[in-house]
């Protein structure tokens, strides 16, 4: 896949719709979403539970498929991509951070990162990635031996170690207290700034929006507001 310049459009969605078929009922998670994401930008997706933000992120990351509409990643249409094309896309272009970390419990911090770097094209060394997130002392610990914040930082290290062009974070601080959450956000901020990784971050915490370049509000499967922060607040100054 070709890459465009740092400030070009990375993602473009048009009329993006997702309907979950839950047996007798149909749940409309997305009802026609049009949005563009730009290279190097830090975007915060804000909205209450069930507003469709996770669904949007999952479709952008190739974890889920749309029911209708279009997603274009750097000029390439994702909505028509096959399963194996989506796999290749995830493998080389996207880093994920989940609310519940989703580490592999039987692997140490270093091995969790290695599980991803082993299949990537130009990955950094797992230890370097863990150093970037401030965990150089904890590389040989198993997830169960780490605090929630540390686990989430391992997850971030795992996501950035392959040097993805986009980093998608689904409520990365949702399971953490505010102090730990801010540490995690500082890491994400630094990655976005230093590595220039386009980052989309989901939260239902409006206070976090202050660190974004742009804030997109979703409600009931639609975009209700797009707002550009004139002045970004550093993550360490956030309070909630």
């Amino acid at each position: 896949m070709s890459t465009t310049g740092a400030n070009g459009v990375v993602f473009q969605t048009r009329g993006l719709t997702k309907v979950y078929d839950m047996g007798e009922v149909q749940v409309h998670a997305l009802r026609g979403v049009d949005i563009d994401l730009y290279g190097g930008e830090l975007l915060v997706l804000l909205g209450p539970s069930g507003s469709g933000k996770s669904t949007l992120l999952n479709i952008l990351g190739g974890l889920d498929t749309a029911s209708a509409g279009q997603v274009i990643y750097r000029g390439r249409e994702l909505t028509t991509a096959s399963d194996s094309e989506l796999t290749e896309y995830r493998r080389h272009h996207v880093g994920f951070v989940f609310q519940f970390y989703n580490l592999i419990p039987s692997l140490t911090a270093r091995e969790n990162v290695a599980a991803v770097t082993e299949i990537a094209r130009s990955a950094m060394a797992p230890a370097d990635a863990l150093t970037l997130v401030g965990l150089s002392e904890r590389v040989d610990h198993f997830p169960a031996q780490l605090s929630g914040g540390e686990q989430q930082r391992v997850a971030i290290a795992r996501a950035i170690a392959k040097q993805p062009s986009v980093l998608l974070c689904d409520e990365p601080t949702g399971a953490l207290d505010s102090t730990t959450g801010i540490v995690v956000l500082e890491v994400l901020e630094r990655i976005n700034r230093d590595l220039g990784t386009t980052t989309a971050l989901i939260t239902h915490n409006a206070d976090i929006a202050a660190m974004a370049d742009r804030v997109v509000r979703l409600a009931d499967g639609r975009i209700v507001d797009v707002h550009r922060n004139v002045e970004k607040k550093p993550a360490r100054e956030l309070r909630w």
């Binding site: 839950m22 047996g23 996770s54 669904t55 999952n58 990351g61 974890l63 889920d64 498929t65 399963d83 194996s84 796999t87 290749e88 896309y89 995830r90 493998r91 080389h92 996207v94 994920f96 989940f98 609310q99 519940f100 989703n102 592999i104 039987s106 692997l107 091995e111 969790n112 290695a114 599980a115 991803v116 082993e118 299949i119 990537a120 929630g148 795992r158 399971a175």
Partner: protein, 811 residues
């Protein structure tokens, strides 16, 4: 090591309980497979080597008497390669301290050098000195049965003359692997033995100097077996030939072949069933295990692992389990196979054992195990990777919620919420419930198969010795004898009732099929020896025609109304002349075919149910008339007053014309012993392996159900449910499925038994399909015990569910 391989090893360690339980199922299946087939292969190989090394003859014939000069002329018969003449004599033995009548066979060994055929294997002592007339070597089984030692003395009655002999050696012979007294169903090593003596002294004692009455031959490579037998019969007719026969009719070989045939059936049917069941279970449990990995598969997918890579990862995972099971199965299988072969070696008294495990057996077992493991893995992985990772990472949510049948029927008020959860869970996942039920049912069936034979054998004994052969003992005479002999038997103190019989060796022919057996002339209204129909009711023998064992009719392809052609294989002329009867007619089938002798043809009137042996029956007076002889018997059934039994025995011993005695109780004991040492031993081993499989299945079902539902149950604990209450939800479901599995298992087991029974039919015996309640209750007990132990192990885990972890997890 790659991170994913690291994960593999750690997951195997973490899941070691489940991994071992799955491997255990496989160990059960594979070790049965290897044990059975290697035992069978080893026995066949050992037998072949024994026969070859000890030059077991190919054709045998006994005759009245022929001059030694005839020997060279055998070689003129086309197809005959080598020939050796012998003297064989029926003898009665007197063993100090043993009251029962003992008979035996005295066989000559050449005066110079090794015998050409049927070479003896010297276990202890030495061979006989040809110059001495008072030395014998005896068979090891006979020696062991009486604990004879070298140098012990015996009294042998040859030709009516008593002679003292000394045991100088103990031997084994390929010709007498089974030592069976003519007329007996099973060997009785205490009451029948084989002895060998130098040719010259034996011939002198038996009036066979310069003559022989027994021949062993080998055939040229291009010989036609049946043609040689026909030519031999013709050649020996003037000398009282009793019909030549090949190995397949040689008594010891025939019994051995039947036994091996049954072993072969067991050694193929059992392991195939076991391995099949184990493979099915492996498929099911590995599939379920992979299902519990659904979330991790989704994570790997999210990071860009390809379906193939994920498939290979889990393939390695299940191959590791299969490898553990395979390695364990091969090791246990070889261990049991060697042990079992040694038991059979001892039973058959093979001088050596060639243990053989064919590589193909291991390869087949491995292929089946790997295929079953892969099928289970790949179907589950394929299902898991089909889901978009976003969905896979969420806990599996049932898409359909609905009230169960019970609830729709309005019965829910009778059930508490936990019970309703059990029922809904089963109804929501009917396929999984069905597979669990089938898994437990097949384990149940396997246990029934390995256990049913004991009941069947008891039933056989009841029918054979309780309803049909009701005599306490049967005696046979050295030859046809006037029925007046019955009077002297009746006169013996302690004898309550006597019935004479006339038995004649025959070859029966129908269409192109023939069978060598005895035609039994018995009293039509006999009390002691009864003929039974298929419903075990007594049949009165018809005035004209024969009644056959149903199995014999099946072998010959006959039905009632067909006419069987009878070829009589006995020439009793000298005896009858001595007792003053008319010369009997000897029927030779060759003459019948050539038209020079009238065919003795008889209609088949009915068939009789008989589990042991095969015979044809007709009224004795009819048989006497057909043989153109008078009121003649050659044996008698006797019932005795148990208080005088030993007196009766010692009187019988003194009767010179009594050549053999079969005691009913001894026959039953022998039958039981033979069964215990062969079939029941085998089934005992397989039953234990079946129990291992059963436990593996039940434990896996419980353990995997726990990993599938751990989160849900921990949540209930958080809500205030007690360990007992959540255990009820999990184990109640297992209990319900186990109970549902039992009747299906019974049906499955019964069908398997029926199949085995049909495979087991042989000349020796037919095992009836009898399943007593204890077969069902044993299988039930094994399954329930497995369920209780599994339940206990799972309950222990439920007690330490991590409640905090579940609260942190998203639901």
């Amino acid at each position: 090591m790659r991170a994913l391989d690291q994960k593999l090893l750690r997951d195997l360690m973490r899941l070691r309980g489940v991994v071992l339980a799955i491997a255990l199922v496989l160990v059960g299946g594979i070790s049965t497979f290897i044990m059975s087939l290697s035992t069978y292969d080893s026995l066949v190989l050992t037998q072949a080597k024994y026969y070859r090394d000890h030059r077991f003859a190919q054709v045998f014939v006994s005759l009245k008497r022929a001059p030694e000069s005839l020997q060279r002329r055998f070689l003129d018969i086309r197809g005959v390669d080598k020939v050796e003449t012998r003297v064989v004599a029926a003898v009665n033995l007197d063993i100090p301290g043993f009251a029962d009548p003992v008979s035996g066979q005295l066989v000559s060994v050449p005066d110079r050098g090794e015998p050409l055929f049927n070479a003896l294997y010297l276990r202890r002592g030495r061979m006989v000195d040809p110059a001495r007339d008072d030395e014998v070597v005896i068979s090891e089984s006979f020696a062991n049965a009486h604990q004879f030692r070298l140098g012990d003395a015996l009294s042998v009655t040859v030709n009516g003359r008593r002679k003292a002999v000394t045991i100088v050696g103990i031997v084994l012979s390929p010709e007498y692997i089974y030592e069976i007294q003519p007329g007996a169903v099973f060997p009785d090593y205490q009451r029948f033995g084989i002895l060998w003596m130098a040719r010259a002294p034996l011939a002198a004692a038996y009036d066979m100097e310069g003559a022989f009455n027994d021949v062993a031959l080998s055939l040229t490579a291009d010989a036609n077996h049946d043609d040689v037998i026909d030519r031999l019969d013709e050649f020996l007719r003037p000398y009282g030939g009793r019909g030549a026969y090949g190995r397949q009719d040689q008594l010891s070989h025939k019994f051995l072949a039947e036994e091996f045939g049954q072993l072969e059936t067991m050694a193929t049917v059992f392991p195939v069933i076991f391995l099949g069941v184990a493979a099915f279970l492996l498929n099911v449990v590995i599939g379920r295990l992979i299902n519990t990995e659904r979330e991790q598969i989704a994570i790997l997918k999210a990071f860009g692992y390809r379906n193939g890579e994920i498939g290979w990862h889990y393939t390695k995972f299940s191959l590791m389990i299969v490898a553990i099971g395979l390695a364990g199965g091969v090791v246990v299988g070889i261990f049991l196979g060697k042990g079992m072969s040694a038991v059979y070696q001892d039973f058959y008294r093979f001088p050596f054992l060639e243990y053989e495990l064919k590589m193909s057996v291991v390869v087949n077992a491995a292929l089946v195990a790997v295929a079953a493991g892969l099928a289970g893995t790949l179907t589950s992985v394929a299902r898991a990777v089909q889901l978009p990772p976003a969905e896979g990472m969420r806990p599996e949510t049932p898409t359909e919620f609905r009230a169960t049948l019970v609830e729709r029927a309005g019965l829910q008020r009778w059930f508490a919420q936990p019970t309703r959860m059990i029922m809904r869970h089963i109804e929501r996942r009917p396929l999984r419930a069905l597979l669990t039920v089938l898994g437990i049912a097949s384990a149940c069936g396997v246990i029934m198969v390995s256990n049913f034979q004991e009941d069947a054998i008891h039933h056989m004994i009841d029918v054979q010795y309780g309803m049909s052969s009701r005599e306490d003992l049967s005696v046979s005479f050295v030859g046809p004898t006037s029925a007046r002999a019955l009077q002297s038997l009746k006169g013996v103190a302690g004898v309550a009732h006597v019935e004479g019989f006339r038995s004649v060796p025959v070859r029966l022919h129908f269409e192109h099929r023939s069978f060598r057996t005895a035609l039994q002339g018995v009293e039509s209204d006999g009390e002691l020896h009864r003929i039974l129909d298929k419903d075990l009711r007594r049949i009165k023998l018809p005035a004209a025609g024969v009644v056959m064992t149903d199995y014999l009719a099946k072998i010959l392809g006959m039905k009632a109304g067909d006419w069987v052609t009878v070829e009589v294989l006995e020439d009793s002329q000298p005896v009858l002349r001595a007792t003053g009867f008319a010369r009997p007619k000897t029927f030779q089938f060759a003459d019948v075919l050539a038209g020079s002798q009238p065919a003795l043809r008889l209609p088949l009137v009915a068939t009789t149910k008989q589990y042991l042996g095969v015979s044809a029956y007709l009224r004795r007076n009819v048989l006497n008339r057909l043989l153109e002889e008078g009121d003649v018997i050659n044996g008698a059934y006797i019932s005795t007053d148990s208080r005088y039994q030993s007196k009766v025995y010692s009187r019988l011993k003194d009767m010179p014309r009594v050549s053999g005695t079969v005691i009913r109780e001894a026959a039953i004991a022998q039958f039981n012993q033979t069964m215990e040492q062969t079939i029941l031993f085998f089934t005992m081993v397989t039953a234990s392996l079946g129990a291992v499989i059963a436990f593996g299945v039940v434990y896996n079902s419980a353990r995997i159900a726990l990993s599938e539902r751990g989160r849900e149950l921990a949540s209930l604990r958080v809500l205030g449910f007690t360990v007992g209450e959540i255990a009820y939800i999990l184990l109640g479901e297992l209990a319900l499925l186990t109970l549902m599995a039992l009747p299906i298992g019974f049906m499955f087991g019964r069908a398997l038994c029926a199949y085995l029974v049909s495979q087991f039919e042989s000349d020796l015996y037919r095992i009836p399909l009898i399943l007593e309640p204890d077969a069902y209750s044993f299988a039930t007990m094994v399954i329930l015990t497995s369920a209780i132990i599994s339940g206990y192990l799972v309950w222990r885990r439920l007690r330490c569910l991590d409640l905090i972890a579940v609260l942190k997890m998203r639901e």
